[in-house]
Point group: C2
Chain length 466, copies 2
């Protein structure tokens, strides 16, 4: 034990032994020792700790090291810091989740990640984005730095209207587009404006169901089969939330008849079709399926974002709305809370209008397709018994599993160090129809050099032929 720790004990005037076990930075070691001393009660509640400057001098470490450790322990509620009374052990240390390893066996932290949802963050086009930021900052009108329009910058709404028409067949105008911080934000706004109960796909993102519930919207599951969601019996729902380009997560496009049925239902009942076009740009073997919105812009809310194409860190999404909903949705956003910053909006407008977005999507599409092809060929060779579906588009595929085996496969993968999810986690809790066992394999997240390794682990976790 270094001498300095003894000094610390003496300074406290207490018979204190600090356990300096384990590795890590000086700050981590110090924090661990202090936590242990507090939790064991050897540093009694109310005990005043030495000023961080003195302790740092004693320990011969940087002042920041001690100050940070104190601050973090204060943030954890283990210490308190009040002016005039110094840093003390908190009177009642709130029970905190233990950071020690639990006695039960847990799988290792995953090394490989095939959970769907994120593009590879290392593929973000930093240079092209900076070039757009430069042009945006050089050419922005002064009013861009004023309070801003909650509907979104007109430059971005123009660029989006043009892009969505050209690439996704969306029929809209800049006046009908509302910029927001992503699909989740769009759904919150729509839930507030529309209310009621919504039909949703029996398989879908639990996060979306959860946020609708938070906003007071009850969700009712629709059957999903090889032709997408069954839109035949929408009844008296206020809205239906669909993923028509590539059903999430099962993977097929919505059948044309079911598209028309949804739009006709909306026209007849005054209901609203909410189209989540989360990965519409990524289709590999033929032209993308156009947006349902193009069938009837007055009945369909189209939502999209840059989260799958560029980065979820940018927090920019959009809605193309029926004219009648624009004022209410803008009002729901709040007068002074445009949320997406003006510089980012102008940067994205330039990125779209100058063709950088097209180029990036094209490059990513090629990359995703290569990854998809590798997934399919590796499975064909090493696990030919497994049926793969949903591969015509998107950033993930579904692997069918024998009935009752899903849980154990996910667990086996976790023990291999591979994070991957089962279909059951996407199932609506109220769904009483037929269920499927399967894996949802996202192939966009791993960096290039780790993808093959992830596929190898996946194959090891799959069940052998029955």
């Amino acid at each position: 034990m270094p001498e300095s720790w003894v000094n610390f004990a003496e300074r406290l005037g207490a018979d204190l032994h600090l356990e300096l076990a384990g590795t890590g930075s000086r700050r981590a070691v110090l924090m661990r020792a202090l936590r242990e001393a507090i939790e064991s009660g050897r540093l009694a509640p109310g005990t005043r700790l030495p000023p961080y400057r003195s302790l740092a001098a004693d320990l011969r470490v940087a002042r920041n090291t001690v100050a940070d450790a104190y601050a973090e322990l204060v943030a954890e509620g283990r210490l308190t810091a009040r002016q005039g009374s110094g840093t003390r052990v908190a009177e009642r240390v709130a029970p905190l989740p233990s950071t020690r390893p639990r006695a039960v066996a847990v799988p290792p932290r995953p090394v490989h990640d095939l959970v769907q949802g994120q593009p590879d963050p290392s593929a973000f086009p930093r240079g092209a984005w900076l070039a757009s930021a430069r042009r945006a900052l050089n050419t922005a009108p002064h009013d861009a730095f004023g309070p801003g329009d909650p509907q979104g910058r007109p430059e971005l709404r123009r660029a989006l209207a043009e892009y969505l028409a050209r690439v996704r067949g969306v029929r809209t105008s800049p006046e009908r587009i509302v910029v927001c911080s992503g699909t989740a934000h769009a759904l919150r706004l729509l839930a507030r404006v529309l209310g009621g109960s919504w039909a949703v796909e029996a398989y879908g993102l639990p996060f979306h169901r959860g946020l609708l519930a938070e906003c007071g919207v009850r969700t009712v599951p629709l059957d999903v089969d090889g032709e997408g969601a069954d839109t035949g019996g929408l009844g008296r729902a206020r809205a239906v939330l669909l993923t028509p380009a590539h059903q999430f997560p099962t993977g097929g496009p919505l059948h044309p008849g079911r598209r028309s049925a949804a739009v006709a239902w909306a026209g007849d009942t005054g209901g609203v079709v909410v189209e989540d076009d989360y990965d519409g740009e990524f289709r590999y073997d033929r032209r993308p399926v156009g947006a349902v919105q193009g069938l009837d812009p007055e009945q369909v809310v189209y939502t999209g974002s840059v989260s799958k194409s560029l980065s979820p860190g940018l927090r920019i999404g959009w809605m193309a709305l029926p004219a009648r909903l624009v004022p209410e949705v803008v009002a729901a956003k709040g007068e002074r809370e445009p949320y997406a910053g003006a510089v980012e909006q102008l940067t994205l407008a330039d990125f779209l209008a100058g063709g950088s977005y097209d180029r990036h999507v094209r490059r990513m599409r090629q990359r995703h397709r290569r990854r998809r092809d590798l997934l399919v060929s590796v499975l064909a060779e090493r696990a030919p018994q497994v049926r793969v579906s949903g591969i015509a588009a998107g950033l993930h595929a579904v692997l069918d599993l024998p009935e009752g085996s899903e849980r154990s496969v996910v667990k086996a993968a976790a023990w291999q160090g591979l994070a991957v999810e089962g279909l059951s986690g996407y199932r609506h809790p109220g769904w009483r129809g037929p269920v499927r066992d399967g894996l949802v394999v996202g192939y966009s997240t791993p960096p290039e050099h780790r993808y093959a390794g992830a596929l190898d682990l996946l194959c090891r976790a799959l069940p052998l032929a029955p």
Copy 2:
């Protein structure tokens, strides 16, 4: 009337006369003519308009001109556009507010703006911001382009903790800072987490009172005098919202005794002091008054933003929170909705850490001080009867007016083409104590070359000596 308009009438097969009165762009003239024809009923509901390409060819204008006009009329609900049936006059044209001049006299659109609240948008430091964006994009770790931490990027939280400690005497740590999209966002989150009824200053931002009410928080007004808000009788409020550095809008700093009283009340009752430090960096004649938060970081929530210092268009703000509130506030933000984009957050972190923020604030402080000095000297010369207060800090001053004259002075200013607000608009509607007549003069918004003109109009609107 140009021949092309006749063609248009013929093409519709109707005896149509389009009024081409007035000036403006081709699109504006076309829209006005179409609106008039629709509203008068001469273009009957259901009438199909020619395709925009044909009409553009006929009129010899750009296709976009016609397409935009159609799109805007669709957005207004005057036309409908459905696939397969072309663009038609809407069946039931919803009543829209008339765009024609009303019969009653209205003041001209203001040419000069002395409404408080916004920094001059032309002063945004574009070059320095771009330099920070470049460094941020070049050095960001890959995970910056992943889903992100709802609490905010650690780089920004570190830079803010350091800056706020140095400049505002805030005692915090990166772990206690939550990044949000501005003070309004911070108040919404706090209202949701704290609930209850809040004490607010009898004079304050109606926008803040309104959003608290929206979130279900009842506000109770506190008397405001020359020593700021009277924090003596906070009673059983859940929180008190204060502007201690520079009472908004009356302009004084909160008296030290009242600061301690607020913090002591919080400690005794478990209430929370919410400190809106909206312009704490801008103090002119002596050192800035430190934040109340420094007295007791466990009882005070400190909020700030870049809206007054850089631009409200960036949508970045922050809170320094008592440790116990961090998890709840982060949860209230929502798991996948960090709101402020990662690139902007990293850019601001660099802007703060590299000293650009200090340099910009210093430059703006000098500029605001010159403007304040000019305001004071012009008034001393041309309206010596008017008492000016709140000038030691901030971006606005208060001009006292004779009792009962406020409304007519604001109106007189509007007729001169000058936008400026009276004190009464800031008064809590539930306030039953003494009231003041006065003008709130914001001097930060006008561009440099228009400031003197605005002051001239202000003097002309002021009442002569009694």
